[in-house]
């Protein structure tokens, strides 16, 4: 399947991926509203870790054998058999965060539900990749199930 890959040697810690992820997952889809005014505040699913010296945008790996899915106590977290995308069913999720407790990459954020990357499901390219000015994020298929 296609996944988002981060290149730490190209990352400038500008955090624009976070800004655009937040916008893409907001109610208004408006960059200003989403990042300044919207309540509840949208959550960025991608996180730039590190500092100005060394950083990388860490994002869900949509693992072949996802620990978050194995650990989910409600069946809300599932890996789609066709697309390979690991997604949360918000109707079922109770927000216990057991998935967060086992994701070895630190890719789940706390919210009313488990909040994580959905690869912008409907888009041809996820918002973070599309808007990274330094090409530090690539969307590509290097194998793996899905």
């Amino acid at each position: 399947m296609k996944r988002v890959y981060a290149k730490e040697e190209l990352c400038l810690n500008c955090r624009l991926c976070e800004v655009y992820c937040k916008t893409a997952h907001s109610q208004s889809k408006d960059i200003i509203k989403a990042n300044k005014y919207e309540d509840p505040e949208p959550v960025s699913r991608v996180t730039v870790c590190g500092d100005k010296m060394l950083s990388a945008a860490v994002n869900c790996r949509h693992c072949d054998n996802p620990k978050c899915v194995e650990a989910c106590i409600t069946g809300a977290m599932q890996k789609d058999k066709k697309t390979g995308i690991v997604r949360v069913d918000e109707e079922k999720c109770i927000g216990c965060m057991t998935c967060l407790a086992v994701c070895p990459f630190g890719c789940i954020k706390t919210g009313k539900f488990a909040v994580k990357c959905d690869l912008c499901c409907t888009e041809d390219e996820p918002a973070c990749v599309k808007n990274c000015p330094n090409r530090a994020l690539v969307y590509a298929d290097f194998g793996g199930k899905g």
Partner: protein, 421 residues
């Protein structure tokens, strides 16, 4: 064609069935449960009680899923006997032949001796959907509820009831709330938070010794301390014990839980396996034998058993406790050896305002954590525990937010690629 029979259709049983299907496309898989429901999320019963989820949302899989995957599920089928010679199990009038059998019978409630609480219509346990429905029917805005037990299940019952009832009192024999997951210090602040948020009254170091009743209904309970509390609804949530009666009757080796070989998940009969809350686990962190009555452990063991039954090599990949839970928005995440005692362990604590973080080490290895409102990226800690990583190889403050940047370049690269961590 192989015949697989699984007793109990919850976390372990379902994971077992699914794993068998992955590795054996043709075998016949029969999943028997005495409950009247398709597999559902047991931990969600408190969310159902307070009205956060519907019954439909609690189902682990869609009803059509079982047919699609060829898993024959039979509800309302309590297995009462195993014939190890004939290799059959009996449920009601039916008997099922197995080549491989897995016992995933889970937990049963532990009810300590108390005077006059037996078969009272308003004394209930809190372990499955059926009793939760009964509880929900009985609880209303005039109800004065008493919960016995301030462990995970008791506190979840109390939280759910506090949204419905007039008052909720919790009696707990231990001096602290959530004694199995919190240390003395953190449990004090958690208790205070729950008292304020949930208007729950605690009676710690105390328990119910006797109930007073009228016409088959409890009207009040008397505590060890002599206090008497009016009571319209009594919830017995002291704890759980492994459900081993079937295994015992069949002559399998049982010591608190069903004894299994941790590598093959086999019981003392090589065609019978066991997984989940009913089985004895070996904690990979200290080698101790214990019951780890948690969802993730049940799923991992169920998967491993399923693989072994189908002739595969699947293993649990290390067994340890990991749990996340919330009370009134307060998030508690715990893992590993929380109550580790002895000279070989040390711990580091950081606390500010509502958040608390305690890391437990054995030498240079992380072996446990307690995180309250500070669970950001907790899975990275869990991964350090699971991999027995030497934490001195990490850069960055271990008490800070766990980060990919803690690792060396090679590890970072492979993780960004998504290679299994």
């Amino acid at each position: 064609m192989m015949n697989y029979v699984i007793v109990g259709a919850s976390a372990a049983g379902l994971a077992c069935a699914e794993q068998i299907r992955k590795e054996d496309k043709d075998g016949r898989i029969i999943l028997l449960t005495k409950e009247e429901y398709l597999p559902y999320s047991r931990p969600s019963i408190s969310y159902y009680l307070k009205g956060k989820v519907t019954e439909k949302d609690m189902l682990l899989r869609k009803p059509s899923y079982y047919k699609q995957t060829g898993i024959e599920i039979v509800t309302g089928a309590e297995v009462t006997a195993i014939d190890r010679k004939k290799k059959t199990v009996r449920a009601g009038r039916k008997s099922y032949h197995y080549d491989k059998l897995c016992l995933c019978t889970g937990s049963k409630p532990f009810v300590p001796p108390m005077k006059n609480t037996q078969s009272k219509e308003n004394a209930l346990t809190f372990l499955d959907l059926a009793c939760t429905k009964a509880l929900k029917k009985k609880a209303n805005k005039d109800t004065r509820a008493v919960v016995i037990g301030a462990g995970l299940i008791g506190m979840k019952a109390a939280e759910g009831l506090s949204k419905i009832c007039k008052s909720v009192d919790v009696a707990e024999l231990s001096e602290r709330v959530l004694p199995s997951i919190l240390d003395a210090k953190s449990s004090k602040s958690v208790k205070k938070f729950i008292e304020t948020e949930g208007h729950i009254t605690f009676h710690l170091g105390d328990t119910v010794t006797e109930a007073k009743s009228k016409g088959g209904k409890i009207t009040s309970v008397v505590l060890k301390s002599g206090k008497e509390l009016p009571c319209d609804l009594l919830v017995l949530a002291v704890g759980v014990r492994p459900e081993t009666s079937l295994a015992e009757k069949a002559g399998l080796e049982v010591n608190r839980g069903i004894i299994i070989d941790p590598g093959t998940m086999r019981t003392s009969d090589s065609d019978i396996y066991a997984a989940g809350d009913c089985a004895v686990s070996v904690d990979m962190l200290d080698g101790s034998k214990k019951i780890i009555a948690l969802w993730v452990n049940a799923v991992r063991q169920g998967k491993a058993a399923g693989s072994q039954m189908a002739g595969g090599e699947g293993a649990t990949g290390g067994t340890f406790a990991v749990n996340a839970i919330d009370f009134y928005g307060m998030r508690i995440c715990t893992c590993g050896l929380i109550n580790a005692a002895g000279d070989k362990y040390s711990d580091r604590v950081i606390q500010s305002g509502e958040s608390y973080k305690r890391l437990i080490f054995e030498g240079n290895r992380l072996v446990g954590f307690v995180l309250i409102n500070s669970s950001e990226n907790a899975g990275i800690y869990t991964n350090l525990i699971e991999n027995k990583t030497d934490v001195t190889t990490l850069s960055g403050d271990i008490l800070g937010t766990p980060s990919l940047m803690w690792f060396d370049k090679e590890t970072r690269k492979s993780r960004l690629k998504g290679e299994s961590a």
